[in-house]
């Protein structure tokens, strides 16, 4: 209803003054930020470099030449972690959604499945991931079942998927429960069935709401794929371990850590941004 910007308007002298004042405030703040950053980081760097053990630390953890030498094997291992993350992530998404739907269903016919889903989540969310990896990775091949792969990468992925499905199911379920009942009431009164209500009204809102925590879980999934190295999978962690134990120089671990960070840090930044955007999109209360 408002009129379009009136081109005849030019800011009053008071507004110009105010803009100048705002500029000087933000300049002052930038100055303070820069000074404090230089002071704090500079002091930390100084303490680090002048500390007595620094030379030994550098040789043991930050041997650049050795790092360069092991880099190809570590990055090859990282490729396994990434494959595991993406293939596992897709499987986790599907299973977790199913579990979450089962746990929130009120349909009487599905009651036993609801109990089973609850038991599943309780067990796999409660047991340490490393234990599940050992059980599946070493236990399943010991059964000698025909038709079941004994490929450690496959079994490692299965173990991770089993555990993470339980985590992610709970995140999705909390999203579903967070949708206000009035939304369901509105959808049902439009004649949508309970399935349609879930599919078209509740789930879309719930998933949007839980995207930030899901991205969080995705980051930890990538890190936890490193645990399959205990099965003998030559992932980035295992590759680094092999190299480190050969020379007792721990630079390969640092290389692996840096490679993980190069992936996880941008991912967490992206998650932070997603959370911020979600909050500001839902919040019409201005910049307080």
């Amino acid at each position: 209803m408002s009129e379009k910007q009136n081109s005849a308007w030019s800011p009053s002298s008071r507004e110009l003054e105010r803009r100048k004042s705002r500029q000087s405030i933000s300049r002052k703040q930038a100055g303070i930020a820069a000074a404090s950053t230089i002071l704090v980081l500079g002091t930390l760097a100084l303490i680090l470099v002048t500390s007595p053990g620094w030379e030994t630390v550098k040789a043991t953890f930050f041997d650049i030449d050795y790092g360069r030498e092991v880099f190809p094997t570590v990055i090859q291992g990282l490729w396994i972690n990434l494959q595991l993350t993406f293939i596992g992530g897709a499987a986790i998404g599907v299973i977790a959604l199913g579990l979450a739907l089962l746990r929130t269903t009120k349909s009487p016919a599905l009651t036993p499945f609801r109990f089973l889903a609850t038991a599943y989540v309780d067990i796999f969310r409660g047991a340490p991931l490393i234990l599940i990896i050992l059980l599946v990775g070493f236990g399943v091949p010991a059964l000698g079942l025909t038709g079941v792969s004994s490929n450690v990468i496959f079994l490692g992925t299965v173990a991770v998927v089993l555990t993470y499905s339980a985590y992610v199911a709970e995140v999705i379920r909390s999203g579903i429960l967070s949708i206000h009942p009035s939304q369901r009431a509105a959808a049902r009164s439009l004649g949508l069935t309970s399935g349609q209500t879930m599919r078209f009204v509740v789930l879309p809102q719930a998933i949007r709401r839980v995207v930030p925590p899901l991205l969080n879980d995705f980051v930890s999934l990538l890190k936890d794929t490193g645990l399959v190295s205990i099965l003998g999978v030559t992932d980035a962690v295992r590759a680094a371990q092999i190299n480190a134990s050969r020379t007792f120089n721990y630079t390969p671990y640092v290389v692996a850590a840096i490679l993980f960070l190069l992936i996880t840090i941008p991912m967490t930044r992206y998650t932070d941004r997603a959370i911020r955007q979600r909050t500001s999109a839902q919040n019409s209360e201005g910049a307080i």
């Binding site: 408002s2 379009k4 910007q5 800011p11 004042s21």
Partner: protein
């Protein structure tokens, strides 16, 4: 009589949309200024600019003679002198009625818990809500919630109370209990700026009525002048439509 609030040529735009245009307003102490106008005419934006929830693009806003639109002003300190009641109540659902009311007195104004509780209980008694002190907001009716929101904004003894369509989310029966609470405040001498669609109520409490259209006040005066004998054709048209909707 000094002006508690004064707006001089205030301008606010969102992108290319000019929402407030050269808007000037003076609110003397112990008076109530009522803003009327169609949805989108800028009433809520005006209140949010006064509360510094929005930064104005030009003009000046004075509170007790002090320019609060100055970027160097401490916005928290300014807001401590203002009370605001929202259309959608905005009570904190995880706190009881009493905790909602005493939060700011204790955390912001440094009152002791006993002092804050005593004051809150007095206010609750006055507005017939004494028995709800320990309930959670979701347990109350809309009218009760809005009265709690009003009490919450009063608990810090504001210089100026801003009320943004406080009855728009209520049914007609509940509207009355909220309006009578506002009338009580008015007779206590509280200085207020209200945006409302309740014309009858505006007649009762307003010292000045301002009709907003496209971000400007195009007619202002006493309730009798503006609501019963409007001069501007746009005001006449608006009031005719309100009248047809049965709200005058």
């Amino acid at each position: 009589m000094s002006n508690v609030l004064e707006l001089v040529n205030v301008r606010k735009s969102f992108g290319a949309e000019v929402v407030l245009k050269d808007l000037s307003l003076a609110v003397p102490e112990h008076t109530a200024t009522v803003l009327i106008g169609a949805s989108g005419s800028g009433k809520s934006t005006l209140l949010r600019c006064i509360n510094l929830l929005e930064t104005i693009d030009d003009g000046q806003i004075f509170l007790d003679g002090q320019e609060i639109s100055d970027p160097l002003m401490d916005v928290d300190e300014v807001r401590r002198r203002l009370g605001m009641v929202f259309q959608s109540f905005n009570l904190f659902p995880h706190k009881t009625v009493l905790e909602n009311i005493t939060l700011s007195p204790i955390k912001v104004h440094g009152k002791s818990k006993d002092e804050a509780n005593t004051h809150a209980t007095q206010l609750l008694k006055r507005f017939d809500l004494a028995d709800k002190a320990d309930q959670y907001p979701d347990r109350l009716s809309g009218g009760q919630q809005q009265r709690v929101a009003i009490i919450r904004s009063l608990a810090v003894n504001p210089r100026l109370l801003l009320l943004d369509e406080v009855t728009s989310a209520l049914d007609p029966v509940l509207v009355n209990e909220v309006l009578s609470a506002v009338r009580d405040l008015k007779s206590d001498g509280m200085t207020m700026v209200l945006a409302t669609h309740e014309m009858g109520f505006a007649t009762q409490v307003a010292d000045e009525v301002c009709f907003l259209e496209s971000g400007s006040v195009i007619e202002r005066g006493t309730p009798e002048q503006v609501l019963h004998n409007p001069q501007n054709p746009k005001t006449q048209e608006f009031l005719k439509r309100v009248h047809q909707a049965g709200r005058l």
